[in-house]
Symmetry: D2
Subunit: 345 residues, 4 copies
């Protein structure tokens, strides 16, 4: 079987997914849509796909699945439309910046029996997957403490920051999802502190650039997250998990691994300086998993609920900063029946 | 000049200091006191020192300085007695488990113009000193985020736990001091979470074995601490500091650095399994610094106030756990005129 | 411009090059030839190319370049035919197992003014390229000593060994080329020792499985090579270069870089277990360079002479083992006017 | 029992051994002799020992053992005198620069039933010992190939070079001994190449500063050694052993293990810059082993024969360079009945 794709949005992340789809022997990129005709033309041309309108893709008989890479404020509407049109949907995170809107969207997905996968690409990084596999194999015993250090090479433009929903919803959200992926138990409370150390303009825009977060589960497992919008040495992405029988850590990745020694010491090159080179393999595996879910008609993971919970953790973190206290996730979400992170196990 | 020492307490940590003193060409171990005559005899015999009572050491003309390694509840009294007797005092941490008792003790030290150094040995570890030196040289720019992972190979006996003042005052206190040593600015707020994951008996004794802490300074610098009472792979002691121009990290230490490769992968031996082998060099440098302070009659560092502030951070952390909120250090200490950590710079 | 390729040979290495060609935006795979019709069909089908005979490719107007992946004993003939047919030729190493045959072939290439590139893929590995770049930038001063450790995960079948020309011509030849690539000066003498430690059957077939080689240039620079046909821990491929101002080393590569710690120590996964996964990126860059040479009509590197010299070094090594003495390369080649390795600098 | 020591020679290496002896609880330094009275006075004074003449130490009833740290050309005579005087003898390498003189000396040691240990300190390095232990435990199966990279931070003065016997007898000799220690089988043939790349003055003095060596045993095991008199990045001391089931390597040692990251990459400090700081622990363990041999009256290891064989390997290497061929060790030594390296196993 070949899964026939429509791509909605031909921007930076759209290109990443176009490459992943066209490199996959089980997929075909049929159509590209973008509000900017030139962007759609260029991307479609590069891969031999057609340019179509969103409406045309919605009703097309030769499209099985769509990848939503449009601006965030269109995500929830498009998910609803395409689920109703019977297409499998892969949507870039976040579903929406508002928890209530996400919940209403997921109700429709649920009612339609739709397939929805949310783009937490890091779960598909081979190194992070190997960490989870080591846990699943029992190599470190019971998980006790997850430590995530996640730092961007540099801050995005302040214009982007303003539309981003803030650092917790834009950047830390990946780490919240990773913490859930590794803890193996839902998070109950969130404590956070945040400050502006990198760029005063970020503070002027009402956001933070340096944050620390502590998470706790019902049984007392911990996770800590340390974020900065700027790391001079590259894209710093480390996770480690401490357990009852041992620990497992994923090391940072660098494009070239040589070492030069001289009187000043031993020097290795900096890390990757961009998420796309760092996570190239993760994006390929992510689409490959989506195709598997579509083919097998099994529930996709990470699911819409995974997207909802990660967003709720971001909201809880922000509330914790504002109120100087530990915030329960249930204060944000209310009770949730289904928290699907564990289905992947 | 040779500094002539009396050693109070011939137990485990007393032996460590006896070795450091006798290995130092500028020091001489003159006398040893211990409530257990046999312990004092053995240690004095090994190094050619005399056994004396505490009173005899207090009044001895041939003793310039004492090292206090007796049980914690005797520290404050002994500091006061020996400062009054005109001896320079090195005291193992903590000065006392009660902040008010520490403050009253320090008042007397101050009134007497005494020399008091508190035993935060980690500041003298060559690797951690190199981290601080890199900061002082401006190699990472402004300090922004300190990350400390500190895990013991195994939990102490529950009997010890009961007398220890709890994990924050007994174990995390070293990390609080290290955070202050590296942040270069006083800590204002403490958030902590704590649980019992290692040994239920520790919980039954009213303590925790797994804790996470977030610290913030007035200007918004962060520190995070992750502690566990058990690490199967050895004595896990890592610090890293993220700054505006770069980062610096101290790696874990292992007694043997070989690597064995086979079909299962590449394996290096575990870390040190004991604080005494891990910090051998730190203890030697610590006593050497104390001797320098005694010789130069300059204020010792870490000082009594450093001991006080670290204890207050521990109390604040415990309060944060109990109350589920960020606690200001000033809630514990009241305003402090002198916070001496920075004098060493 | 798009370079239109014919692929001769659809076996294991042919597939590697087919993938590299079809992934390159500046190339198109037009035709595949193979004595086994099924193999040609399968590979052509996978990439939308035609199946053609060698003769048809030779005379085709829509083919600019060929990649020769046929058995070694056909290489020299095919190079001559396709150079005469005006095609640019990329040929897998070796050109032939006989130095005289290689020389006669290169004369024809030269007379025809043909483009010939020889497949020493390791020169295109990003890590080894970074080593060479560090040298070229003067970061280690003058090159003095090159150290190469090169070990295969496992020995090939004895049938292959018998046709291979022996370990020096089959395996060490890559390291000879790498030594030349890094020394920056021609090798004058070769000393080698060889034994059978891995598999007696290899010895019975008249070959060795474990060899050490020392190389010296006219100015006294050294290179050493250590080869084994079996490494339980994966494909061990390390080079380091010691110079007057420092040293540079390329580390081994592993598919997953996590580390698991427990009471037995710290374990990282094994290395790549196959040359194709280890050198994926090198193969892509190699074809990309070939395309650049074809487009720019500049002499290709590594050249036919590079192929010749590496083979001569292999012959010299074998002679050194047999005669227990240092062998001059000129004993094998006679004087060579052109030794093209340096053109790439 | 306490072993009472006389120290012959109060120079650089004499001080190293004085410290090792006086730090050992089972030893006492009784007397120091040196042709320079001041040197003897200073060293004896530092450790509370007496200054005596060599003759007085020879006949002293209160001396059990001597450590010979005098110039090389006095070693053989002193060994003979002190063995005849019934003292256990530890002698710095080499016994003599002349193989025949060593043989005649060892005959006397043998005839007297004397205890003689030769100072190959590296066998006692904890990391190299761990390598040997891994081999002895069978962790890498049968040893096949030993690789030694050994580079000094900087060349000694040319005056020293002239008296040293040349790089093979002065520097490589340690690596020859280490190769024997790890191969577990006697070396039969030596091939070497040597050049002057570091300092022309070394060549003018008739010596080399850059050498490569290949060694082979009767069963075909290999060892390679790479030496340079200068490494800008410190004292480069690496060994690795490849075996049928795996490999084991000892990593380089650095005094401080931090890592600084910035836009230029990740930098660790240089290695130790001096053999005494690099091998501090080895010297202490070496003397401790000697004391054990003296106490247990068991044959010492490394023995006089170990010293003889290492010297013969050096002579064979020089002969190989001069004659451009593989040299058999038996060409140098004649047949040897006893090659004692294996007794330690």
């Amino acid at each position: 079987m070949t899964v026939r794709f429509g791509l909605l949005g031909a921007g930076r992340i759209g290109k990443v997914h176009a490459k992943a789809v066209t490199s996959n022997p089980k997929a075909r990129l049929v159509a590209v849509a973008d509000a900017f005709a030139q962007a759609a033309d260029d991307l479609a041309g590069q891969y031999g796909a057609e340019v179509r309108s969103i409406e045309a893709i919605e009703t097309a008989a030769d499209i099985d699945a769509v990848v939503i890479c449009t601006p965030t404020d269109t995500h929830a509407d498009l998910i609803e439309r395409f689920v109703r049109a019977g297409k499998a949907v892969f949507c870039e995170k976040p579903i929406d910046l508002d928890v209530e809107r996400v919940k209403s969207c997921l109700k429709i997905v649920d009612a339609e029996g739709g397939t929805l996968m949310v783009g937490f690409n890091r779960r598909f990084d081979p190194h992070f997957q190997a960490v989870r596999q080591a846990i699943d194999e029992g190599q470190i015993g019971d998980v006790e403490m997850v430590t995530i250090v996640s730092r961007d090479p540099g801050a995005p433009p302040v214009d982007y920051i303003k539309r981003s929903g803030g650092i917790f919803r834009d950047m830390t959200i990946h780490d919240f999802d990773m913490a859930r992926f590794l803890l193996g138990e839902e998070i109950e409370t969130v404590s956070a502190q945040a400050s502006v150390l990198v760029d005063k303009a970020i503070g002027d825009a009402g956001d933070y650039d340096s944050v620390s977060v502590m998470l706790a589960t019902a049984s007392g497992k911990h996770a800590t997250i340390s974020n900065s919008r700027r790391a001079t040495y590259g894209y710093d992405q480390r996770i480690e998990v401490h357990g009852s029988k041992g620990a497992v850590a994923a090391e940072n990745q660098r494009p070239v691994s040589i070492e030069i020694a001289n009187g000043s010491g031993y020097t290795r090159p900096p890390l990757h300086d961009f998420f796309m080179t760092r996570y190239t393999e993760a994006y390929a595996r992510e689409i490959s998993s989506f195709i598997d879910f579509v083919e097998s008609k099994s529930p996709a993971s990470p699911s819409g609920v995974d997207g909802l919970v990660a967003l709720a953790l971001a909201d809880a973190a922000l509330k914790s900063v504002k109120e100087g206290r530990a915030v329960k996730v249930s204060e944000i979400t209310g009770p949730l029946a289904d928290r699907s992170v564990f289905q992947g196990r």
